[in-house]
């Protein structure tokens, strides 16, 4: 039926539902894994900059341990390994957990560097203004650290999305698992994996561009919250009103 060995011979229309389902699952893993990794990363980063050794050391061990073993090994351990001692996680649980543990370790490094990157004088200025430690952190240190952490965090998000493809080894039904199925049904490995790669690219490239734009906007000081947006708008309005008032004063 297909005598010419052309590149595109897989009946892709038939696979659209499977691919869409796989892509959605990949995005689901990404969202859950990244959200969890941010929480773990921030928590571990805060422990690592603590003044208490008892908090610092376990956090450092966590980071160093999971930064230095392959994600694939973590996936095998959470899915097959834990099952052998009676802890049965389904593919989604094991996959998400693996991503959270692994990327949590990397994000904790990025967040720690960002928190330490905020000048010590900033904390002092907050103290001198009579702000307590909590407000000094949430209002002064954290927003600045967020700006410093954004580039590295964005890179990690895209990397995490690509790493969901490793979940193929536990048949997580995400995009790469679907690709494997299609390839084994059609025996067109080259075509299938080129198309799948293209799908990853089409999702990842815009995502990194969006992150980059966000980074630039935040770097330029654009408000991230509606409340701050309104505050600046009000300030602008008051300044404009004051200016017109002073003009009218000059006029006789």
């Amino acid at each position: 039926m297909n005598p010419a060995p052309g590149l595109f011979q897989v009946p892709w229309q038939e696979y659209v539902p499977a691919l869409a389902d796989g892509l959605l699952r990949s995005l689901g893993y990404t969202a859950a894994g990244f959200a969890g990794a941010v929480v773990i990363g921030l928590g571990v980063a805060l422990l690592r900059i603590s003044s208490r050794r008892l908090l610092r050391i376990p956090a450092a061990i966590y980071t160093e341990l999971f930064k230095n073993i392959p994600l694939l090994a973590i996936i095998f351990i959470t899915y097959f390994g834990l099952a052998s001692i009676g802890i049965r996680l389904d593919a989604f649980q094991a996959g998400t957990l693996s991503l959270v543990i692994f990327y949590g370790a990397y994000l904790s490094e990025i967040f720690r560097a960002a928190l330490l990157g905020v000048h010590a004088g900033q904390r002092e200025a907050g103290q001198a203004l009579g702000l307590g430690p909590t407000v000094t952190f949430t209002g002064i240190i954290f927003p600045q650290a967020l700006r410093l952490a954004l580039p590295g965090t964005g890179t990690m998000l895209v990397d995490l999305l690509k790493s969901t493809s490793l979940l193929v080894v536990i048949s997580a039904a995400e995009l790469m698992s679907q690709a494997q199925l299609i390839a084994s049904e059609t025996f067109r490995a080259l075509e299938v994996y080129i198309v799948i790669s293209a799908i990853y690219f089409v999702v990842c490239y815009p995502l990194s561009q969006v992150v980059l734009r966000l980074e630039r906007r935040v770097q330029a000081g654009a408000p991230l919250s509606l409340r701050r947006y309104r505050r600046l708008a009000q300030a602008r309005a008051l300044l404009a009103a004051a200016e017109t008032a002073s003009y009218s004063e000059v006029k006789p």
Binding site: E124, A125, A128, L131, P143, Q144, R228
Partner: protein, 265 residues
């Protein structure tokens, strides 16, 4: 609100309680004594300038006033309220204390992620819980007072050093402090910016604000101060009105310092 809340010098001086009263203050860093049994006092409405060589303990003494530095021993009393006694802080609410003591840093330390007006609003809203609109009005008024209405929406990195330091002064004033501390406010500035900042400080002084200024600007200190304190090697060598300490120093070390200052400038 206008610059300086204390109305006039005459009125505030009647309030006899010193704003700052420090007795037998000792402070060391890693075994090296930086302040050795120092007594120091600031009367309401007075401008006190602390001068002396770098590393002599000027800045440390000032930072002890709002307990950014924890002394080893001695007593610190602010407006009659004991803050530090013996070897420990006795003030229960350090945050509240610091709201009454504004501080201006050598390197400004404005919050770089916020515009000038937001810098002046932050502590009002988060510390004093002043409603946003009121805080905004106060902030804009204070920026106008320091001549920076046109920079209200600029970020610190877009401003010159002098502009940043004037925003920092507005930020310190926003809490309506009864005392302002200046830690070498013009040491990081070019001559023109220095002039602008000193002009703002002069206006503050005239309004009756109580101020402690660590400075290298001897002529400015001489002009603005009620009291000059000369510190060297962790000791207060000499203190008194500028006419004595600067124009007619009695201590040899003060004379030597002023000679080297004059030959350098």
């Amino acid at each position: 609100m206008t610059i300086g809340r204390a109305e006039t010098k005459g009125q505030t001086v009647n309030n006899a309680r010193p704003v700052v009263e420090i007795k037998s203050l000792v402070k060391s860093f890693a075994g090296r004594i930086v302040l050795d049994t120092v007594d120091f006092q600031v009367e309401p409405g007075n401008i006190v300038s602390i001068i002396g060589r770098s590393g002599g303990g000027k800045t440390t003494l000032m930072r002890c006033i709002n307990l950014l530095e924890q002394p080893d021993s001695g007593t610190i009393t602010l407006q009659g309220e004991p803050v530090f006694a013996g070897r420990k802080t006795v003030c229960k609410d350090l945050a509240k204390l610091r709201q009454r003591v504004g501080m201006v840093f050598q390197r400004f330390y404005l919050f770089p992620h916020l515009t000038a007006v937001e810098n002046v609003m932050l502590a009002q809203m988060k510390g004093l819980k002043i409603p946003e609109t009121k805080a905004l009005h106060t902030a804009l008024e204070l920026l106008a007072e320091v001549g920076l209405s046109h920079r209200a929406l600029a970020f610190p990195e877009q401003m010159s050093g002098g502009e940043q330091q004037r925003v920092a002064i507005a930020r310190a004033l926003a809490l309506g402090p009864s005392l302002l501390l200046f830690d070498e406010p013009t040491s990081a500035l070019d001559p023109e910016s220095t002039r602008d900042v000193l002009a703002v400080m002069r206006r503050l002084a005239r309004s009756g604000m109580t101020m402690v200024i660590v400075t290298h600007e001897v002529p400015f200190a001489r002009e603005i101060s009620d009291q000059i304190v000369f510190i060297d090697g962790g000791h207060i060598i000499e203190q008194g009105p500028p006419s004595e300490v600067i124009d007619n120093p009695s201590e040899e070390r003060t004379k030597a310092f002023l000679r080297s200052y004059n030959s350098n400038s």
